[in-house]
Amino acid sequence: MVREGRGKAPAAEIVFDHVWHHYPGRAVAAIQDLSLTIPAGEICVLIGPSGGGKTTALKMVNRLIPISKGDITIDGRSVQAMDVIELRRGIGYVIQQVGLFPHMRVEDNIATTPRLLGWPDAEIRTRVRELIELVGLDPDEHARTYPSKLSGGQRQRVGLARAMAADPPLMLMDEPFGAIDPITRERLQDDFLRLHQTIRKTVIFVTHDIDEAIKMGDRIAILRPGGLLAHYDTPENILAKPADDFVARFVGADRGLKRLSLRTLREIALLDAPPDSERPGLPSASEGTKVSDALSIMLTSGNPSLLVTDDEGTVRGLVTIDLITALLSTAERSGVP
């Protein structure tokens, strides 16, 4: 899935080139020989068990943690050759605890990087309003409030707006939704994915939640303890053909179901719907339903088939458990290189 950069600033391609990190005084390296290329405009999720070095890898990009050996480049420029302050001002940075400045109003928090970069005031003001709306808040209601008055979800929205303020070609997100309740988290994930469709930044996203990784990532890099890259591919390919036992265990025994969650009923060639007389008692779901959810509906209703409708409720056809099984096996075959 290659996306075209359509944001104001182009997205950047990020390359990890045989990167190592040794914490001083520790025998085992935190990151070992990490090489991966993140195409411009994609969301790359770094995931792994704790001690896998995912946050370390992320923080090496903006040099909060030094690179011991190897190099990281942004559009071909080595981060080690750049002035560290300039480098960081050119990267959006979002952390789990958000880190809003409690003594600044929402508008001033968001204006932080543009001010550091010396943008003219009028431009900053327009940009701040635009961003508050972009992340789903109301400029009139929220611009002049202090962070202490906001909910956890609203704070992370402001954190996102602040990170995007200077339109950076790269965003680093360190477990951005980790401290937020599940319902709000899901809404933030959906909103961020929608936002990403328009801004098309390159995003490096750290999480420890495999479901979040599958949902958010165009690609997922799974790190094993000691900072070794275990598997780097699209979610579909990782779930279909895990590189080894570690990856298979990490993504979970339900990886088949997780793959089904990546698809909707729209992607299945449906059977003809049965005549009206045989329909009563059959469960139904709309085309936009995830295949995994459709399967769950069948299992709970005790019926091996399900009517598929369009958004208006018109019946489009029938899906069966056999069709779903076939979907998994064809995808498995096409997933083999």
Partner: protein
């Protein structure tokens, strides 16, 4: 404090002549309003202004020293212990003793008074500043660092503004303490509102030292109130209890 002085005076000798004036003044009544009115402009007010000067200069210099020390201790951890030990030691010296100790060095003077008063402000100001700096939320600093703030920008735009409520709290205590302590500076001839208190006690004239004492207390309350207002204006993000 006034009660203590009253009882001391009650026990002391009574000098019968309090100069010209009303019956109340001549008889050393409980409190003679007419004496206050007659003497406020040329006796009490200049002393009060002198007292404000004594306090402002002591707190100002103390603030500057404590500020530099706190910034150093925040940056270099080893500074904390020796400076705390030094300022705590000064703080434990009885004030009359410290004033007296300085007389052989800097004389019966304003300078001796200021040196002692500055010494007493250091512990409170330093501790509050350092605590304020150290209690700045880690995540705000992490975010600032990741966003490309320089160390200096982190200090001036994040750490110090966030430490401001703690710094102001220290400043309030230091100011009120200094106003109170500075009355004793009159003992070594540094003037201030302590002067009419000492005079009044020596002469046994109640109205004089009671009025001067009330002025000292009022000054402390007013200064504290002004600092609270300043704090609210400077740190509007803090949610104050109601």
């Amino acid at each position: 404090m006034i009660g203590v002085i009253l009882s001391l005076v009650g026990a002391g000798p009574t000098i019968p002549d309090f100069g010209r004036g009303s019956d109340c003044v001549r008889e050393n009544g409980q409190f003679c309003m007419d004496w206050v009115v007659d003497n406020f402009g040329d006796q009490l007010l200049p002393r009060l202004i002198q007292h404000i000067e004594l306090t402002a200069i002591a707190v100002g210099i103390g603030f500057a020293i404590a500020f530099i020390a706190a910034l150093l201790a925040h940056r270099y951890h080893w500074v904390k212990t020796p400076f705390t030990a030094f300022s705590a030691f000064v703080y434990t010296i009885p004030s009359i003793a410290l004033f007296q100790l300085l007389v052989p060095v800097t004389g019966l003077s304003w300078t001796s008074a200021e040196i002692a008063l500055v010494g007493y402000t250091l512990l409170i100001l330093f501790r509050n500043m350092l605590t304020g700096l150290q209690e700045v939320p880690r995540d705000a600093i992490d975010a600032a660092e990741g966003m490309g703030f320089t160390q200096r920008q982190i200090l001036w735009r994040v750490e110090l503004p966030l430490a401001l409520p703690a710094i102001m709290a220290g400043l309030r205590i230091a100011t009120v303490t200094t106003i109170s302590l500075a009355t004793i500076a009159a003992y070594i001839g540094a003037g201030g509102i302590g002067q009419p208190i000492f005079d009044g006690i020596q002469r046994g004239f109640r109205t004089q030292f009671v009025t001067a004492g009330i002025l000292a207390v009022t000054l402390a309350l007013v200064a504290d109130g002004l600092l609270v207002l300043a704090q609210r204006a400077l740190a509007p993000w803090v949610r104050y209890g109601r």
